[in-house]
Symmetry: C2
Subunit: 625 residues, 2 copies
């Protein structure tokens, strides 16, 4: 076994075939490409080229910078944050190629469809997950400004945000207000200048909150205008630039200080900053939209949620990307590493480890689950295109509803699963997996924050159960389940195998999907019952598991939907076609997922039915022991 | 929120109550203390004092060294390994107190019972997991020498191993032979000196393989005598000292070189060494026991397995200790951190996070599972005492059989669960959990090796299914299941509540245990069926999940057994007794575990019944995508 260097070694191992399948064979991409926004710029035939090009850049330009994130890391000195020099170049490069903030320019030409861009970002995220917020946050800030700010502010801030000259952040969390956004202490005070407030407060965990590769940083800052209502409803959103921009374009200090950075378990190339704002009463911010109304209600949280919902998809994407890359690296290692004999044929001598059933199980678990997550996210990227650019208003609304339902799943499911998936990839290396000169350990350390930030996964689960289940009196979520029901029904009714069976050898899997759907409806009934009893607390107790069950059900449907297409292609192309193994893999992903993962839905239903009250009855004193 | 220092901050948060309960109220400790080995030294009344004393040492002497492991780490320079200076002192201190290698001295007086010592080691392991092998390995080496080496070797090596002047290691793994122990390349060549061989080879992943705090290091080194049989059966075990000990006690170089250390994800204070032995043909080792017989069969692997089985219990103990400490730290944090409002009573205002159902779920999951692991391990410590010191030979054999059955569970179950458990503890901190100045991230990084080393958890699962299920024609494992059956039967038959029901409100939980037992027996039947079909590969596919199901079933029984005792105590003592919350916690641990974890046994049974063949059918080419 050749030894690698002492330092962390990151490796890019992405394959693009599933991404191409999603875009060209699965999503209704023709619809998207027919929208006015895109029709003159992109055709279906361009997709392969774009994807291949980004794959190459991810591998050759971006991935080499990941090691600097780990080995050099981020340094805080005298109030300033220094990021690895190679990150400067990588950010600039992506921006110049049109894969940075400029893609959020709604007035600009040639923006990529969300469906395409989301999958490109996945490839780039895998190459250096720590780098992505440096590239992406400015675009998300620009998006909020485009949606809600006045023309003057747009003119002042958009050009340099969109061309990557300035960075951006989202400032929510405070030392005493994390999940409790509404309890934040940051304050805004009216000034004599129209639309300008004095800002005072402290923010923590601000991703890329300071950096040395941009001229200025534009913070979207949540604060409460003096006298506004308490809770989230009283919040307003401000543009707080690190440096105030004078009329002539020169900068003045705006009293925004970075007083430290976090020392994290992973993502060491990503600055996570503590900011103190207006300590000398000298920080100014521009209000976005209107001041609080006569009831003290501001527009801030609604505006910020636009960015937050984007960030929730980003989070799921990062988790999917890093888990996928860990899996593909593990599989590459497994092809070389000789160890053990086959259980089914021990006399044939030692084999490479990728031949063992348990190792193949680790791979197929990873392959199926990351494909499930990618499908879930890609569906949402598609809905983003529809919401933004579909000519029909009803259809835009329909897409928004779908996005509302799926966003908590997109954030929580990949970020929950990544920890276990990467652990299996790591395990497949044996002892080398625990060594930082192989890439699995790094991926494991990186992924853990994603179950926490942008609303913990418990918050996602309560968003799902407490809000999304009820939205539109329950009709919208019911419509999402109906999608699954209709899929099952369609294939039951007009199965296209000659004998009219379920399609092509997936009978058992379709049965599991149906059973999971029924079990899931049972969960909803039981939770409705608990909600109206003294067992209300059981909702909190089971919420995270129910979110998982929701994602497993919905992803089971998505993978089956893909498998049906793949199964047809196999029949069309035959076993000798170069794409045969890809399509076979899609069918096997679905089979693995439906036979090993989706049964968890009815298992969770049974746990909910048991209705264990141990946690509700437990006084906190028992945890002393 | 007060900010801590920039550097890693380790915190000891252990509670001793469950340990005292296990020793004084649950295990048949009177039997152990009546053995000749112990009866003049220890009484039941001494146990509290011993436990409290070690708890204090763990907190005040050992835990402060953990940060040095992370912040100073291990350094390799010019072929030598330097460990943190505070580790030198901590090792010496434990040794001097009688909690080091000396406890393995079978001739010595006052050795602690395994049952006691194992639980003390758990407390110490939690205080600094990286330190423990520096302390423990010499004792394990001494144990093998006591069992198998001749008097001359005993005289030469035991005194300084047992008093901690010399360290010890177990040298198995080689670059191309990890799980494949039998394929190792290390060779031993006869010399003119009786019992002395020239040794040549390379070993990797040698825990505490070099260090600067001991005079000498005694390697137990597996190698193949020239001409011996291939595979594990041809291996012999050698004592290979780092420095050769001359007649006069002086040292000569023995050509054992440390050529590097691993850069690990965690346990950074623990040296993990690459050793090259006999590069100049100048390394000598003492053969333990007899040379290979006329068939080329050596005694090495059998001898080494003695140490290996110890190491497997150590591994489960380390995982249990680190997960427990992470949980208790999380719970301490949760008492202080204010965030959110109660789902069941939002109007009462913000609460500390330990009041939320989902956070309490995280705690109770951790509490119940770590108590389950502790119970499983403690049962084995007890069996170790019986095996070694019971006067009756049959009983010693009985205990050995129990140990054989439970060892793979002890190694794999805690080390599999730790990753998920610690992730939940980490999650409960919110963003701070991801920061190294809180202790959860460190625990997460530390724990991942334990599912890999000392035989991966897949190897454990195949040991269970392929070997332990069959041992004694299946009678021994059946006896282990009968223990569970008898427990259920006894309480069904002579339930001691007035109405003759199952004891004391645990009806539902006892039903779950019974259902799990039946489901488990179903798993065994199905696997027997697969073993005789072309689906043999399904055994490898389901093995790890079956090991988990085995542990969950057996641990469910152990926790119920403890809960029944606790339930009685509650009735005896009443709610105002200072121990009430402890006993209530034991009952709630069992209820949580039986209602949320044990149902996984029948879930896994159902997955096995589904008999998914996706992995068996998958050509490796599909993993390219």
């Amino acid at each position: 076994m050749e030894r690698k260097s002492d330092k962390m070694s990151y490796k890019y191992a992405y394959n693009t075939r599933d991404i191409k399948f999603i875009l060209k064979e699965w999503l209704p991409i023709d619809e998207v490409l027919s929208y006015d926004r895109y029709k003159d710029y992109y055709g279906k035939d361009d997709l392969d080229t774009i994807i291949d090009q980004v794959r190459k850049v991810a591998d050759e330009v971006i991935a080499p910078t990941a090691e600097d994130g780990e080995n050099i890391g981020v340094r805080w000195e005298d109030g300033k944050v220094y990021i690895p020099p190679s990150f400067h170049q990588a950010h600039r490069f992506l921006q110049d190629q049109g894969w940075g903030a400029s893609n959020f320019d709604k007035e600009g030409e040639g923006g990529l469809p969300f469906a395409v861009f989301g999958l490109l970002l996945e490839m780039l995220s895998a190459a250096n997950p720590a780098l992505m917020p440096y590239v992406g946050c400015a675009g998300a800030v620009a998006n909020v400004i485009q949606l809600y700010a006045n023309e003057e502010l747009k003119k002042k801030f958009l050009p340099k945000l969109l061309n990557g000259t300035w960075g951006g952040t989202m400032c929510l969390t405070e030392p005493s207000a994390g999940s409790d956004v509404g309890d934040m202490l940051s304050k805004a005070f009216l000034t004599d200048e129209q639309g300008i407030y004095k800002i005072k407060g402290q923010k923590i965990f601000i991703t890329v909150g300071d950096r040395d590769d941009v001229e200025n940083i534009i913070h979207l800052y949540l604060a409460r205008v003096e006298g506004a209502a308490s809770g989230t409803k009283g919040l307003s959103l401000f543009i707080v630039p690190k440096f105030w921009i004078n009329e002539d374009g020169s900068f003045s200090d705006n009293n925004v200080q970075c007083i430290g950075i976090e020392h994290k378990m992973g993502l060491k190339g990503q600055s996570t900053c503590q900011l103190v704002v207006g300590e000398n009463n000298n920080c100014r911010g521009y209000l976005i939209g209107n001041p609080p109304d006569e009831n003290g209600v501001g527009q801030g949280i609604m505006q910020m949620f636009n960015m937050m919902n984007e960030a929730r998809l980003d989070t799921g994407r990062l988790a999917t990307a890093v888990a996928s890359n860990a899996y593909w690296n593990a599989k590459d290692y497994g092809k070389e590493r000789i160890q053990g004999r086959l259980l089914t044929n021990p006399k044939s001598g030692r084999v490479t480890i990728d031949k063992h059933e348990d190792v193949k199980r680790m791979y197929l678990l990873n392959k199926a689950t990351t494909e499930a997550c990618r499908a879930l996210l890609a569906k949402c990227y598609y809905y983003e295109d529809v919401r933004e650019f579909a000519p029909d208003k009803e259809r835009r609304k329909w897409a928004q509803n779908k996005l509302d339902m799926l966003t908590p799943l997109c954030k929580a499911y990949p970020s929950d699963e990544a920890w276990g998936l990467i652990a299996e990839s790591l395990q497949s290396y044996g002892g080398y997996g625990y060594c930082e000169d192989y890439p699995a350990a790094n991926s494991a350390r990186d992924c853990k924050i994603w179950s926490i930030w942008e609303g913990t996964n418990f918050i996602q689960s309560m968003d799902l159960i407490g809000r999304k289940w009820m939205q539109g009196k329950g009709a919208i979520f019911a419509d999402t389940l109906k999608e699954v029901q209709d899929f099952i029904g369609a294939y039951k009714e007009r199965g296209y195998t000659p004998d009219g069976q379920y399609p092509l050898g997936l009978d058992k899997e379709m049965e599991h999907l149906e059973r999971a759907l029924k079990a899931y409806q049972g969960i909803q009934m039981m939770i409705a019952g608990y909600a109206q009893s003294e067992k209300l607390g059981l909702i909190g107790f089971y919420a995270r598991r129910i979110l998982t069950a929701t994602a497993q059900l919905y992803c089971g449907y998505l993978l089956m939907d893909q498998a049906v297409i793949a199964r047809k292609r196999i029949d069309e192309l035959g076993k000798d076609h170069h794409d045969y193994n890809f399509y076979l893999g899609k069918v096997l992903s679905a089979r693995y997922y439906l036979n090993n993962v989706v049964p968890n839905v009815w298992h969770i239903a049974e746990l909910v039915r048991i209705g264990d009250t141990s946690v509700l009855e437990a006084p906190n004193e028992i945890f002393e022991y």
